[in-house]
């Protein structure tokens, strides 16, 4: 091991010597593939997560484009319904478990130790293991597409008995893949909790932590609480398929609705797992570019915790039309409507942070502002969906598809991209090309709205989701959505280009890359050397 270095003063200009991951005074890491297979460094593992997530984002995106190409006009032109169903299913699974979740874990790996002044994650080897489970899981999942009978074709929600008695033979592999991804998530969550609770810089209380750390702490508890439920439900499926049990088979005394209760008890907190860290990122970026402290830090923390607690009490709002008793409908309607309260508090806080600030519009800020507006629109449609009687009309239509894509694409994914543009100077030592990033932003914002806004109308007009062909009155909406989807998909190549260019060079970034940035990560040099905070920094309490 290297000798302990004294605390370094922040460097104003980076040195390229550390850009290739070599840090002075440390033993040279293994070369080539083994360096990445064996790494226990939180920054390298963070990068692996992010690269993996970006790859999955494009694979899942291509699946979505197959779907949108088929729906470009009425009739069956390109694919058979069987393959269409595999595409919708795989798109959902890949985006949820392969793109969004690993992207947040990657950001957590990179940024949590830097933001709390820790030298690394608490459990570095476990960290390595939880990452490398993912390529295994998703290779297995994608390989089902090549198996006889095809891959999963029952939607990402895999409702039994369509996913058990009526499923293709590859379903057992799908279950195994999901088990592995679930283990990866649980281990990652344990690691994050251990890191946050044990390794904060001396003097940093919980209520001093940046909100990204807070939201991730709460998210990690959600993960630990619900991933085992997912594991349970897919194990029950496995038993039904292979071992003759009848958990979900009515003919054997089982209960298909039980599947949905279990799935959504996992699934609803899962939705917040995909959005809470986004709240954290946006809560870091908006104050930075408004040059003003975040308004209502404490209420942000409480609102996040409230959303997390409520997420355990609302699952059956996904099941308003399965025939729940009236009391249950009412309970889940009220509890779901309540979620609007803490979510509203967050939006009000962001807007008030902007009020009387000194605002500039760099690319991270643009994505964060778009997040606030478009996520809120997704929240509005969510509030509409919460009204149980109206949900009898909305349920399983494109209105729902529009809703959750608004909270996930310009919600979660825009927040991830905002975070990437925000922290790229810290990771690479270079600013991303601002002009390219702005083009990426404006193309994305046009593409995302063109794709998903018409879906509201298609759904209200009566178009069910997950159909490969549709009645003629839905043709115009689908045409627009398909054009938007291809436009959005293509413009994401600008993102990749921007990231690659930024890694290779660009305007040098100082340690404090953004004028208004306050958190601890901006006290280490840019690019952050492989090892940081080997001696804990002294934490000075700022305004909150």
């Amino acid at each position: 091991m290297a000798p302990k270095l004294p605390p370094q003063p922040p460097l104003q200009h980076s040195t390229t010597a550390v850009a290739d991951g070599q840090s002075h005074g440390h033993a040279a890491p293994p070369k080539g593939i083994f360096r990445w297979l064996l790494t226990t460094n939180h920054k390298e593992i963070g990068s692996l997560y992010l690269i993996f997530s970006l790859t999955m984002f494009f694979i899942g995106g291509i699946f979505a484009l197959v779907v949108r190409a088929e729906l470009f006009q009425p009739g069956l032109q390109l694919v058979e319904p069987e393959f269409f169903n595999q595409m919708t299913t795989m798109h959902g699974l890949i985006m949820v478990f392969g793109a969004v979740m690993p992207a947040f874990t990657g950001l957590a790996n990179w940024m949590i130790p830097l933001q709390i002044g820790a030298p690394d994650m608490a459990l570095p080897r476990l960290n390595n293991f939880s990452f490398w489970l993912l390529p295994v899981s998703f290779t297995l999942l994608l390989s089902t597409l090549l198996m006889p009978g095809g891959g999963p074709n029952f939607g990402w929600t895999f409702y039994a008995p369509l996913s058990t008695n009526f499923a293709p033979p590859s379903t057992t592999f799908f279950i195994l893949a999901l088990h592995i991804a679930g283990i990866s998530s649980i281990l990652g969550a344990i690691n994050i909790i251990a890191t946050i609770l044990n390794m904060r810089a001396p003097g940093m209380r919980l209520m001093d932590m940046p909100l990204f750390v807070w939201t991730w702490l709460i998210t990690a508890f959600l993960l630990i609480a619900v991933m085992p439920v997912l594991a349970g439900v897919i194990t029950m499926m496995l038993m039904d398929i292979n071992f003759g049990t009848s958990f979900f088979d009515a003919a054997g005394g089982g209960d298909p609705v039980l599947f949905q209760h279990l799935f959504w008890f996992f699934g609803h907190p899962e939705v917040y797992i995909m959005i809470l860290p986004a709240f954290g990122i946006v809560s870091a970026i908006i104050p930075t570019f408004a040059r003003k402290p975040l308004f209502g830090y404490a209420s942000m923390v409480y609102a996040t915790a409230a959303i997390a607690l409520l997420s355990f009490l609302v699952w059956a709002h996904h099941m308003f039309i399965v025939g729940l008793p009236l009391v249950a409908e009412l309970f889940f309607m009220y509890s779901t409507m309540l979620i609007a309260v803490p979510t509203g508090v967050k939006v009000f806080n962001w807007v008030t942070t902007l009020f009387r600030g000194s605002i500039s519009f760099e690319s991270p800020m643009l994505f964060a502002l778009a997040f606030v507006v478009l996520f809120t629109i997704g929240g509005f449609s969510g509030l509409m969906l919460a009204i149980a009687p109206a949900d009898f009309q909305y349920h399983d239509t494109y209105f729902v598809v529009a809703h959750f894509h608004y909270v996930l694409v310009p919600g979660a994914i825009f927040a991830i991209m905002a975070g990437v543009y925000y922290w790229l100077p810290k990771w690479t030592g270079h600013y991303p090309n601002e002009k390219l990033a702005q083009w990426h932003f404006w193309f994305s914002i046009i593409g995302v709205n063109l794709t998903f806004f018409p879906m509201h109308f298609a759904g209200l007009a009566g178009m069910p989701r997950r159909i490969p062909d549709y009645a003629l009155q839905f043709a115009d909406f689908n045409l627009l959505s398909s054009i938007g989807a291809f436009f959005f998909g293509a413009s994401q190549l600008l993102f990749v280009l921007g990231v690659i260019l930024c890694v290779r060079g660009g305007k040098k970034a100082p340690a404090k890359a953004w004028e208004g940035a306050e958190d601890l990560e901006w006290t280490v040099p840019s690019p952050a050397p492989l090892h940081t905070f080997e001696t804990p920094p002294v934490f000075h309490r700022t305004s909150h």
């Binding site: 009425p74 009739g75 069956l76 058979e80 319904p81 006889p148 009978g149 074709n153 029952f154 409702y159 008995p161 369509l162 008695n165 009526f166 009515a250 089982g254 298909p256 609705v257 408004a290 402290p293 308004f295 209502g296 830090y297 209420s299 039309i321 009236l326 009412l330 409507m337 309260v341 509203g344 508090v345 009000f348 807007v351 008030t352 009020f355 009387r356 600030g357 000194s358 605002i359 500039s360 809120t376 629109i377 509005f380 509030l383 509409m384 009204i387 149980a388 009687p389 109206a390 009898f392 009309q393 349920h395 399983d396 109308f457 007009a461 009566g462 997950r466 159909i467 009645a471 003629l472």
Partner: protein
């Protein structure tokens, strides 16, 4: 029969179309419940619009007014307890205001008591079966859009994918209770103009009800992913005046009795093949394909299928009892003995399967009775 429906469709188009043709928003529909739901939908929509205008207005004002590029100096306030309490309390009040009418509507939707007619709706991959309980009238309803329109070889009609061979016929002004279940996977029976969407779940019987105010033709679709033909499982409801409905029901009862008697008589091969072809095209061809070529491995070919050609009992057993663990359902309760005999006879004598076998409805009835 068909031409009469067609006439009725034209005559009702004026009254029915008004509710259906608004292509941008939720239909107001033709029941009291559907217009209540529409009202809730529009109320919550306008609440969201107003909140949106206020929040985004404040946001864009700040973005414009406090630009760094215009030399704005940042203030440093970061909390204000009374404002925070206020913007927690106001949304709660709005939500309570919204919950009250929603609760009332929901209670009404759950009250299926005092129905004058019970209809059992059974979802099957990929058709609906309707049974007028206590009336001995039952039939299945299949999509009637030809596959050639889907593939684009033929021009698509006005009601592309939303037309069926046998619509559900309901009286207006009478409370009709639906009992809903499924024979295989979960489906969801949905007609937007009636504001009825309810999952049909194997092993469960769900209830819903409708009281239609205006005669018309109301179209919908299966709303829950149920396999490859999920998109081709439309619902069509013909709502007719009460007297017309009573006449229709009596006619169907009589026809059902005729059909039941048909089981006992000897059928000629031509009759069976003709009947069987129509059954095949509406029920079997979605999986086994129009020319019996199948779509292996999930859906085996029937044309030149050695086992099928050699063993008539095996063939009949598959149709009557289904294949457990595969997609082939049991048709013993879905099709009547005449239809089963006809479709088996047809498949044994079509596409080069020249077995010359004739299966009589009486033999099928005996097999089902065992």
């Amino acid at each position: 029969m068909r031409s009469r429906w067609w006439l009725m469709a034209v005559s009702l188009a004026a009254s029915g179309s008004q509710a259906q043709t608004n292509g941008w928003n939720m239909p107001v529909g033709v029941t009291d419940v559907s217009s209540d739901i529409y009202g809730l939908h529009m109320t919550i929509f306008w609440i969201c619009v107003v909140i949106g205008l206020v929040v985004f207005g404040a946001m864009f004002y700040s973005l414009f007014r406090y630009r760094h590029s215009k030399g704005a100096k940042a203030a440093h306030f970061h909390e204000h307890t009374s404002v925070e309490v206020l913007w927690t309390a106001i949304p709660i009040l709005i939500l309570v205001g919204m919950a009250v009418p929603a609760t009332a509507t929901l209670k009404n939707m759950y009250d299926s008591s005092d129905a004058e007619l019970d209809v059992m709706i059974t979802g099957q991959q990929w058709r609906w079966r309707y049974e007028y309980l206590g009336e001995d009238v039952a039939f299945t309803s299949n999509m009637s859009t030809p596959r050639t329109q889907i593939s684009g070889e033929e021009t698509r009609g006005e009601h592309y994918l939303l037309e069926v061979d046998e619509p559900l016929v309901l009286p207006i002004n009478r409370k009709v209770r639906f009992l809903m279940t499924s024979d295989d996977v979960i489906h969801s029976w949905w007609v937007p103009d009636l504001a009825v969407k309810q999952d049909t779940i194997p092993g469960f019987i769900n209830e819903n009800w409708v009281k239609i105010n205006e005669p018309g033709i109301y179209r919908g679709q299966c709303a829950e992913l149920c396999g490859i033909d999920h998109g081709f499982m439309p619902v069509v409801v013909h709502a007719v005046e009460e007297e017309e409905f009573d006449g229709w029901l009596a006619e169907r009862k009589e026809a059902a009795e005729q059909e039941a008697m048909g089981v006992d008589r000897e059928w000629a091969m031509d009759e069976l093949v003709e009947r069987g072809e129509s059954v095949y095209q509406s029920i079997c061809s979605s999986c086994h394909q129009a020319e019996g070529q199948g779509s292996p491995p999930a859906f085996p070919a029937l044309a030149n299928n050695e086992q099928l050609i050699n063993d008539v009992d095996w063939h009949l057993d598959r149709v009557v009892n289904g294949v457990s663990g595969a997609a082939m359902p049991a048709f013993r309760s879905t099709l009547n003995p005449v239809e089963i005999a006809a479709v088996v006879t047809y498949t044994r004598n079509a596409w080069g399967n020249d077995t010359g076998d004739v299966v009589q409805p009486s033999a099928v009835a005996e097999l089902i009775a065992q």
